[in-house]
Symmetry: C2
Subunit: 515 residues, 2 copies
């Protein structure tokens, strides 16, 4: 008999209903029935984020933000280990800056928030406040959608000689892109991100930097997010506006759609030329500086959620879980709680000494059954529970979130060591599960009919030959909604024929329907 039945009481039995209870009162929709609804509900109910009163902007809630903080900490460490430092550039960009790089203005300036005034005044008719027409800006300011322009206009003053290079700078910032259709984390009008902007004396160095940062992103995704990714190069039409080459990492979500998780751009001398950033090289000659930029955003939160979670809620890889272990006491009397707490306090201490983050959920305002469901929804990797029988048996129940498996553990053995090993095992297991999913859902096809059938029946990545033209790419996108996610870095040289045009092709590229 499972001792947990003791307390599977109705969580709504109390008079004062709390926000938590309202939120938990319905189960999640199933992925198989409505993946999109499942995602939205999960994000809200697991306290990750919610829509704000401002169209397209989200509120990142404390629990969601604490996961983002863990991501930030690891990414920031990896940046610093590769020689980068952080800085901060202005939120606003003068409108004229965008016009300086032709592709860039096409790609970005058109869907941006525009600041036109700097003052409000009391409405003469008494209806609150209105814009003060006397406070119109001479030149409109754009809320940054990305910061290449303002940063390169700054670098102009930082660079005179080769001795001022390289500049290896990153910033953590908010950016705004006026999206018409938004989804929490995946596509929001305002989002948080980091944007690296580097300047180099040689082309080779800049190319190497942009490739290095793609690998940094891939390593982060695989090692911390437990999310396998494909490393590759974007086709010309999917390239960043203003770049000569865009490197990317692409991941597969459980509904078979791909998600671009990070990009790194080799900018050539485009922005240096647009903002006149020259330096004297070792030979004493003037040359334009070479540039890169690279970024990941709160979109990674969306990827993390969609890559691993299930119908019960979030599944978090232990390395990014803000709470790795939750301990729930099961008791009927205050005396029992006191006995359990005493034992649990020792356990908490031992786990923390191993570097494990633990929460003892001794709230007396909620029942154990409610707590179990809440921590399951929130994806805490390991749940420990201790009840009266455990006290008798000197045991504790261990439940792991990824597989749902439970076991009783005798406390005469070393629990901290056990949990530490279990967390490692779970990290690997979650990665392997996602890897196996990605592999199973990557299909090589050689005809357009096969291509369409795989997309419709199974989804996933479709590996196919392509003739390298934007026309074919556009036609395929128009007819199937699939885009070229990337030309994988490890694509083999292989003679073939484009599935659409029949023209010759030397390697396969990865197509998918994508977020």
């Amino acid at each position: 008999m499972n001792h947990l039945y003791l307390c599977e009481t109705n969580p709504r039995c109390e008079k004062q209903v709390s926000y938590q209870e309202v939120k938990m009162s319905k189960g999640l929709p199933k992925r198989s029935e409505d993946y999109s609804l499942w995602y939205n509900e999960l994000v809200k109910r697991a306290d990750l984020a919610e829509n704000s009163p401002v169209r397209g902007c989200m509120v990142i809630k404390p629990y969601g933000y604490s996961i983002w903080e863990k991501m930030q900490a690891e990414i920031d460490r990896m940046f610093k280990e590769t020689g980068h430092t952080n800085a901060y550039f202005p939120l606003f960009i003068p409108k004229s800056f965008f016009s300086k790089e032709a592709d860039h203005v096409e790609g970005f300036a058109k869907e941006c928030a525009v600041v036109t005034h700097y003052r409000l005044k009391n409405d003469p008719d008494g209806n609150g406040v209105v814009i003060d027409p006397d406070a119109k800006l001479e030149e409109e300011l754009i809320v940054r959608p990305t910061s290449e322009t303002v940063i390169w206009s700054t670098y102009k003053n930082w660079v005179q000689s080769y001795r001022d290079l390289p500049i290896l700078v990153n910033q953590w910032a908010n950016v705004v892109r006026w999206e018409m259709r938004t989804r929490l984390f995946l596509r929001t009008t305002e989002f948080l991100w980091q944007e690296g902007h580097t300047a180099h004396a040689t082309k080779n160095e800049a190319v190497a930097e942009s490739i290095q940062m793609m690998h940094v992103y891939a390593q982060f995704a695989e090692e911390f997010m437990a999310m396998p990714v494909i490393r590759g190069i974007k086709s010309e039409s999917e390239r960043f506006a203003g770049a000569l080459e865009t490197y990317c990492i692409e991941a597969l979500m459980q509904d078979g759609k791909a998600l671009q998780a990070g990009t790194s751009h080799f900018l050539g001398q485009n922005f240096a030329k647009a903002f006149d950033v020259k330096f004297t090289n070792k030979e004493g000659k003037l040359d334009f500086v070479w540039g890169t930029s690279w970024g990941v955003s709160t979109r990674l939160m969306g990827a993390l959620i969609m890559a691993h979670s299930d119908d019960q809620g979030l599944v978090l890889p232990p390395k990014l879980a803000p709470i790795q272990v939750v301990i729930v006491p099961i008791y009927k009397s205050e005396e029992q709680l006191a006995e359990i707490s005493e034992k649990v306090n020792g356990i908490v201490k031992a786990l923390r000494a191993e570097g494990i983050t633990v929460k003892f959920d001794d709230r007396d305002t909620y029942k154990p059954g409610f707590k179990f469901a809440e921590w399951e929804l929130k994806g805490v990797p390991v749940r420990l529970s201790m009840g009266p029988r455990d006290l008798e048996n000197n045991s504790i129940e261990i439940a792991r979130r990824d597989t749902g498996e439970k076991e009783f553990f005798n406390l005469e053995s070393d629990l901290a060591q056990k949990i530490s090993g279990l967390l490692d095992e779970m990290q690997t297991n979650i990665y392997n599960k996602a890897l196996s999913f990605t592999e199973t859902n990557t299909t090589s096809v050689d005809t357009y009919d096969e291509f369409k059938k795989v997309l419709d029946d199974q989804g996933g990545f479709v590996s196919a030959h392509w003739d390298g033209t934007a026309e074919t790419e556009d036609k395929i996108k128009e007819e199937t909604k699939a885009t070229i996610r990337c030309i994988p870095l490890d694509a083999k040289e292989e003679e073939g024929q484009c599935i659409y045009s029949g023209k010759p092709s030397s390697k396969r590229v990865l197509f998918a329907r994508a977020y």
Copy 2:
């Protein structure tokens, strides 16, 4: 003879002049001659920040940002230790939200950046891009000057029962206030800050929270910034727009002007009422929630710089120095450098093992004299240098930034222990120096003549009796430019007469001219 003269060569002797050299080629202005110019030049030349192409907005440069990161890390840790978590709320606030709290709109909405459009288009006349008149927002959006309104509109959905309280949330964010006269770090149109916003079931709890956060700020200022502060309460006219009480910390700068370094507000039920945030209390009755908000900003960088620095440059307290120890090799041949480097590598390792951040400045593109001046300007607490004679003597030269003292240290003793002790001593010394300055420049006066004389001759804090009316406060401000910085928490009950009106007063308040 000082062996450093070996290399005090002209830093401009090379052909390719770098940005560093241009920046270093002139000395700093003196504080005694032009304090304001000294500050501006120091901020720019020490690579802390510079003006951006966007009016009133600054670029925080990598070195400046690394100091801000150290501040953030400590403050964030202190917030978490007091039970707070981070979250993120939108950059934009609908205009109508401001009108909901009458004092707040008066205080903030009027000098804000206003977003009116969400799209640009190609200029039909071919001159870059222009606003698309079809993309006008129905309701203008304000770029947040502070987030009480958007946060309380969100809290409304988070709170139903007393069990949802307290909410202890902080956010790290950028905010915009359209300042007419700006100064790097001290007053900029955009700045970085944290804003805590908490919600409580009782008045007492909210008051206690706002007082607690004032003490957290004071502890941070004194322990990490080595900057003594006065803890106090603002007079009604200096209170935050929408608060019932504002607690603050005030510090004295070297020019005798005061600087408000942090504020914590007890908001009463003002924002709960404005946004209809009610909860069911333990007795089952509906009540409005009690609130607080509190913040510190990149203004702290200005305070840190002005509190301790000298005519040679920045003086950083060791606890906030991104580089605590710099090691400069002095050599004539590659062989000498190799010998020195080998020895230095061991030292670097030993210092890092003690948790000390060290930089070995082995750039071959700059001479030692140039490096000495650069690290002095940048405020690195300890400079070690090793030359050929040191190799012979198994010694190293230690120079401390705060006092300028130098000594030779025999490497047979434990250098790491020595430096570790020295850094602690310097942290204390810098604090004590600032404390002594603050004490020396705090004057009690009993007449208005004395008051004016002290303000003009010496500056600093002036402790005086005040009748408690806004009229008197305004008159004094108008006539002397001094404002009431705060009513100190530790002010003694003492019968006296207002220096201006002669009316009775029960305690002294602190006046000063302020930033």
